[in-house]
């Protein structure tokens, strides 16, 4: 556990001594501001529906950029060799890295709390729905961070790792909206694999255990794949 914290601390330090964290926070908050403004002025209701829906989509593109360097860079700089020759379980390295990128995500979400505050000043938002919507967002972020980390473990070039991450995540987004593209029965079957199907109830203020389970599994599967991918590349 202390090794995990050591890795987490190191990742956080690297985020914050370089411009990476600040750029991400600034860009994400800017996008959130735009979505909020459009959402409120176009619908005229005191709700965060448009804002949060769009913030979730943005994660498909933003999170792989946040995680792309995590293994690719370690490998390129040779520091992976140091990590793997120190008496630290690989699982601690993988989970520590995932936790660091998720932490940065939580900070980005923290910034967007400004918008519910604005709504509360002018209107009367449903706080229960706001809370569960954020919970859903955190679920998405957790799963996507794990997937992005997996992409980063596949290839040494960080830009390529970022693109692979985006391409890997897109299907999970699109299957919820693919009715027009796929035959009906197939779209129906695939729908449950998509993120949208499971985000839906969170956005209506309902916490369904199946949806929580979905995001937990999403995260666990990709963390496991990352572990295997880093481990297996030593054998080749």
């Amino acid at each position: 556990m202390r090794h995990l914290i050591a890795v987490w601390k190191k990742e956080m330090r690297i985020y914050f001594v370089s411009p990476v964290a600040y750029v991400f926070l600034a860009v994400y908050l800017f996008l959130a501001g735009v979505f909020f403004y459009l959402g409120v002025t176009l619908t005229g209701e005191a709700s965060l529906r448009v804002l949060l829906g769009n913030l979730a989509i943005t994660l498909v593109f933003v999170l792989p950029m946040l995680t792309m360097r995590q293994f690719a860079e370690e490998r390129r700089q040779g520091t992976l060799e140091m990590l793997l020759t120190s008496p630290v379980p690989l699982a601690a390295v993988v989970v520590g890295k995932w936790a660091a990128s998720l932490t940065l995500c939580l900070l980005m979400f923290l910034g967007t709390l400004l918008f519910p505050a604005v709504l509360a000043y002018y209107g009367d938002p449903d706080w229960g729905v706001v809370a569960t919507s954020y919970l859903g967002l955190i679920g998405v972020a957790s799963g996507f961070c794990a997937a992005g980390l997996f992409a980063s473990s596949l290839i040494d070039d960080q830009v390529a790792a970022g693109l692979i991450g985006v391409v890997m995540l897109l299907p999970f987004w699109l299957v919820g909206r693919s009715e027009a593209l796929l035959p009906d029965d197939m779209a129906e079957k695939l729908r449950d694999f998509g993120v949208l199907a499971h985000l839906d109830s969170f956005n209506r203020g309902v916490i369904d255990s199946i949806d929580v389970y979905y995001f937990v599994c999403f995260t666990a599967v990709f963390l496991f794949l990352t572990y295997r991918s880093v481990e297996s590349r030593r054998w080749r």
């Binding site: 001594v17 140091m82 990590l83 020759t85 030593r234 054998w235």
Partner: protein
């Protein structure tokens, strides 16, 4: 301390290391020599547990690298070919992280970082950012990273490559000043380095161990091996060649006045016979000495011999 038995490592169809066996005793400093691409780095990576062997048995400090990798990693300090640094971090933060990986926390962590920085000559540099360091200082930080937990076994992959002569001396001094309880394997292709700090060397070429022994043993192993240099007057080269036990006499360049310069090869030390023959002929001896091929010559002939 290190036991390697019939180690083979294949990357797919390419065999990088083939049937290598050697042992290194506690407290020894062993040089690992070989041309580029000979399998030095692969062997070292296996010793550190970074990559697994294909076949064969590798034990470090009594632990098998496959069965108990964590025990091995606890006892090994490893400096890869390029120091594994995070360019964004400061020296202090970086070494602090390494200390935590080695399970030193709180006061112990600060203590370890402080003492290792002093040992490698980085005191007062805590807040320097790694990307701003020169090659020599990066290498020192890399060495600090390998030394921080006072490992029983130290594995250094070309610790002095790319450094200027002053820095090379600094790193060598550091290695020589390590305690007697530390076993060191260092790879290099700078042969003078091996002569300066390693009593024993292993030579590896095309994935095979081709020679091992002390430096003078290796030099004597070269084809031709030992020879004798003589500067004599009053005798001729064929006269020396006719002495009992002398196998071959070869003049070295033009005579210097009356002095004949000869390269003599013999099964046994021929110097007493030569001196006696010269004085019997009324001549004089200006020089008569045993010569070994240089380590460079030995290395080239040993590595070339296997081709």
């Amino acid at each position: 301390m290190i036991e390697v038995r019939s180690l083979t490592k294949a990357y797919g169809p390419r065999v990088a290391v083939q049937d290598v066996s050697f042992t290194v005793n506690k407290g020894e400093v062993v040089g690992f020599l070989g041309p580029n691409g000979a399998g030095k780095t692969t062997t070292m990576r296996i010793l550190t547990g970074f990559i697994p062997p294909t076949t064969g048995e590798v034990k470090v400090a009594g632990f098998d690298v496959l069965d108990e990798p964590t025990e091995v990693k606890r006892r090994v300090g490893y400096l890869p070919e390029s120091p594994p640094l995070y360019p964004e971090l400061t020296i202090g933060d970086y070494l602090g992280f390494v200390a935590e990986l080695r399970s030193f926390y709180g006061r112990k962590r600060a203590e370890k970082v402080g003492s290792v920085m002093e040992r490698v000559g980085l005191s007062g540099w805590e807040s320097r950012i790694l990307s701003s360091l020169s090659k020599g200082y990066r290498q020192r930080v890399g060495l600090a990273q390998a030394l921080i937990h006072d490992p029983e076994v130290l594995i250094l992959d070309e610790p002095t490559s790319g450094l200027d002569p002053g820095q090379v001396m600094g790193i060598r001094e550091l290695i020589q000043n390590l305690g007697a309880h530390q076993t060191v394997i260092l790879s290099t292709h700078v042969l003078s380095e091996v002569e300066a700090i390693c009593p024993r060397a292993l030579i590896i070429a095309r994935g095979r161990l081709v020679a091992s022994g002390t430096i003078s043993e290796l030099r004597a192993q070269a084809p031709g091996g030992l020879w004798y240099y003589a500067e004599l007057s009053g005798v001729t080269a064929p006269r020396v060649g006719g002495l009992p036990g002398v196998a071959e006499v070869e003049p070295l360049g033009e005579p210097d006045g009356p002095w004949l310069k000869l390269r003599v090869r013999a099964a046994q030390d021929p110097r007493p016979q030569i001196a006696a023959a010269v004085s019997a002929a009324g001549g004089q001896v200006r020089a008569l000495e045993q010569r070994l091929p240089s380590l460079e010559e030995a290395f080239v002939s040993i590595v070339g011999r296997e081709a």
